[in-house]
Amino acid sequence: MTQPKGTLTRNTTAARINHWITGGCFILLLFSGLAMFHPMLFFLAELFGGGQWTRAIHPWIGTVLMLSYAGLIVQFWRDNLLNRDDINWMKAIDSVLANKEEGVPEVARFNAGQKFVFWSMAFLVPVMFITGLVIWDVYFSAYTTIEQQRIAVLIHSLAAIAAIIVWIIHVYAAIWVRGSMRAMTQGYVTPGWAWRHHRKWLRRLAATGSTGPRPRADRGPAPR
Amino acid sequence: MTNTWQDIKNANVIVVMGGNAAEAHPCGFKWVVEAKIENGAKLLVIDPRYTRTASVADVYAPIRPGTDIAFLNGLIRYLLEKDAIQHDYVRAYTNASLLVKEGFGFEDGLFSGYREEINGYDRSDWDYELDEQGFAKADDTWQHPRCVMRLLRNHVDRYTPETVSRICGTPQDKYLQICELFAGTAAPDKALTSLFALGWTQHSVGSQNIRAMAMVQLLLGNIGVAGGGMNALRGHSNIQGLTDVGLLSELMPGYLRLPTDAEPTFEDYMKTRQFKPLRPGQTSYWQNYRKFFVSFQKAIYGDAARADNDWSYDWLPKLDVPLYDIIRAFEMMANGQMNGYICQGFNPMQAFPDRGKTRRALGKLKFLVTMDPLDTETSRFWENFGPQNPSDPAAIQTEVFQLPTSCFAEENGSLVNSSRWLQWHWKAADPPGQARSDIWIMTGLCHRLREMYRKEGGAFPDPILNLTWNYTDPANPDPEELAKEMNGRALADLKDSNGAVTAHAGQLLEGFAQLRDDGTTASGCWIFSGCFTEKGNQMARRDATDPREQGLAPNWAWAWPANRRILYNRASADAAGKAWNPEKPIIQWNGSRWVGIDVPDYGPTTKPSDAVGPFIMNAEGVGRLFARDQMADGPFPEHYEPFESPSENVLHPKVRSNPAARVFADDRAAFGTAKEFPYVATTYRLTEHFHFWTKHALINAILQPEEFVEIGEVLARQKGIEQGGWVRVASKRGAIVCKAYVTKRIRPLEVNGKPTHVIGVPLHWGFTGQARKGYGANTLTPSVGDANSQTPEFKAFLVNVEKAHAPKE
């Protein structure tokens, strides 16, 4: 994809593909999972060819999502490490929500909100995967007791609800913060977007002469 | 069975000993449960194993296999000692008062008259002392030292509770508890029923096991009454019928007996058959033997049987030995004395003792014919099926014919159940492929032989050529025609004493009372006479009404003899003709005749004051506590150890096992000793299977798929045998390798001071069918039979057991 001159790469092509695989899986899991979770939503099973197909497909999609999310973890974990900035950012959450960026401390590539989404999912996805295996009746029912399965199915549902809530926050944030969507579709942001939302990240890119998404390691750190 | 299945519900006490009714006859057993619920009955189970029957018993007592007579003789001692007998019954209806000949005695395990050279007894002294008129002498006070009651007391005196426990291994407290419950039924209005089966017959003392209980029942007044009786639970659906029709080596239809070499002429034969009454005024129904015999000969030889040729008496084969039973047959076969064998729906490879010998014997035949709906082991004996049947086909020269037959669902006919009911059944479908009925096959063979003898001549063809065969379709006789032939018909107009015609020539007879010995009647099986009359097929009757719901259903099907449902039912009433149990009368004297819910087993107008005994088939008219000369091994039962036993005979060490049993030399050589084979084994059926048939049925194969043996926890621990692990069980004759069921249900018994372990060997598996392959219990069993019937001793023998690995395929 050609990137307009003067813009910064927010997400590499690989990262974007990885993200959208994850996202697609998530949506399929959301629909199929909700179909099996609540009778009012059972109609969603029709999207998958009926209840049997929904039941059969859901765990396979879950497996893909698990692998896919593992890819995201590999790619993003370093930029999601927590630091002091996150505390300051959280302290200024009122300004963030009110779109008053002036009062918000500078953050690097990801702010605390994004890190929350990232780490929540990093926790919830494996939890769902493991509990999902326990209740994947066709292959694994023989390895656990029914009581363990009952615990698993309850945890699976609770984790799924949490994940859905996190996902809603994630999606809304992408809509709310203009330019974010393009960052994950076309992969680039304008320097102004970076200045506004991830000024520390912009400073580091600028210091190393990188166009993103990460500072160039061979140019040394930016001067203080 | 003397009584009906449903009649069991009238019992107050039910004893299952020598059988496992719940497992082998579940649907009949329902009446036991019914008795418990509706009649408050107690169920007693005496068995080496805690069986499924025991699981619903009120009292269970273990017993060492093969020691039932000790238990029962001890019980008789208990009853006599406590005076818990039904005095009026015993006095009037048994031979307790009759005097026995002076020469009779019993010493050191032998009755008088033992002759070692024939392995048997000269029984001439085992009889009553007769007066000048030929009637047995009696002492109604039971004081005479040679009256049966005194002799019996003396005989059982040795069987104290301590001795019984020492022999049987039954704990004394359980034993006495059971004795007490038996004793309670001596009251005239209380009944005890005995349910037994092969657990008693399959011993070298099998017949005496049953006699011992029959004696107990006579003492308690329980024969002939509702809820009483001696109830042999027959094994197969028509084994009663086959026995009735005389398909046994020494029998003819209706319990007539084949002549022997000692009876060269018809008159010789009749001399020993028409029993004269041994007490004044008695019926002695066998006095009619000649009528039955002549009518039978007329049925099978028609016009060729005439008074001037003694009704073709000479055409019958005569026996030179008491029995050509299966043990003798396979002994002859193994010795090369037989060339051909026909197995019609029978599977000797699985069913006969000493499987190795059976296999070897079959291999010496020139030809073997099997007729069966299923692929039996016998028909495949020559084939190598691995360790379960290691044969070498190339070395076996037997020609084998496997003929496919129809099954029950594919033919019409009657079957006789355990309570002697002849029940008609109807065909529902055609047999598969080219399978044909046994009737068609036997007819096909008969016609071919007949044609060959007609054309070519040969050895004594007369009986073959003159056999009656006047059926509508000679190639495939209709079962109804055969039933009518058995029922019998008049060959000339029959007239009563007033000259009135009771049956026109050609008409079907109403019953055996119409049979004549002058050749004017024909009946293929006198006891069945009445089953198919001019009124139609009585066996097909389906009116289930049951007066007073007492369990007779007299209009359902038809029971021999004469549609009588309870044998000896005259004994249900006292000497004056009033029911012992007024709640459950069967027949009673109403002043002019016997009336009630059953056909009287008695002259219908014979007055009570005539003192005619109720046991009309016996020449003395009463039940026999003393068996006269009717048993090969003694007029009283005596405890003898099984031929393979871990214990000496504590009563008479010199005579350990039944001295009158016939043992062939090679079979004796194949007996093991307790030193080498220390554990007692017993074989049995499980409820999921029927012998060797149901392993062909998928559902039953699923329900009990694989061969196993049952071993008590104590022995398993000693031997390091694990639950469900492989074991090798060996006797002197062979070994099986199968799974072990380590169970609490078999506990070691304290026998003569030593712990004795019992191993249970279920018998259902073989190498054909759908269940997993097995060796078969008869790999282990000894080839020795009961002294009277030659029923093999499957229920008590010796084995060793060791932990093992799965057999290699």
């Binding site: 609540h38 859905i164 809304y172 200045w195 002469g209 | 329902k30 449960v33 619920i37 699923i702």
Partner: protein, 303 residues
Amino acid sequence: MADLQSQNYIRRSASTLTPPSVRDHEQEVAKLIDVSRCIGCKACQAACMEWNNLRDEIGHFEGSYDNPADLSPSTWTLMRFAEWENDKGDLEWLIRKDGCMHCEDPGCLKACPAPGAIVQYANGIVDFISENCIGCGYCVKGCPFDIPRISQVDHKSYKCTLCSDRVAVGLEPACVKACPTGAIMFGTKADMKTWAEERVVDLKSRGFSNAGLYDPSGVGGTHVMYVLHHADKPSIYAGLPDNPRISILVDLWKGIVKPLALAGIAFTAVTAFFHWIVAGPNEVQPEDEANAQRLLRKTDDSR
């Protein structure tokens, strides 16, 4: 939805609306298994297989008479054998016919996510409607008696139907008919309870002082009940639950979690929506671009 035409449902799985249930004036039926009369002959098993056209695999001997070894999609009822020594040291062979209990409050139905895959008729029979079954195995988790089994072949859940096809035409279930000793009886639930009382009196008179009826209230009673000689210790009968009830975990999962979850999700979405209304989009301003360009130039210069 052809299955709704019978109009006699009390309960229908995963149905938020009341199923057609006007034909509810029906006698409740029950099967009474009198363990004290049972001889463990497996006639019920054979009759069940025969009537329902089920044939499981031919198994192995595994150290007991329990065959097949467990319930399965093709084994809807099973005799379970337990050798138990009583206080007197006497052996009792406790034999129990295992299979669906047809609970008044069926855990399977509660757990089932597929509308109409599990139904309860007005006569009390709990039936699995295969057409609607999705094979998820939730019924297994819902059942307090460990009864349903999922087929690996067609991925449907199976269990005893109480021969709903026979009962519907006025016959008794196949196992009931076959039972040689009358250990299995069938009739209205009221009649069965009366009969059970008589049996308990008889058993008490025979020394079983703790005899009683097993009709566990934890699941609202059952339409398959047991007469036990030791009703104080159901678990000695090859693990019959002493006090069965639907697991608290299943209750939570199928109870409070469902509305809470939907509420939580909805709340989040609505909150986001109102945030949009109130705060609106967060857009990059021209001065942001200018500041960024300045920064980029400055660092370029400094290099």
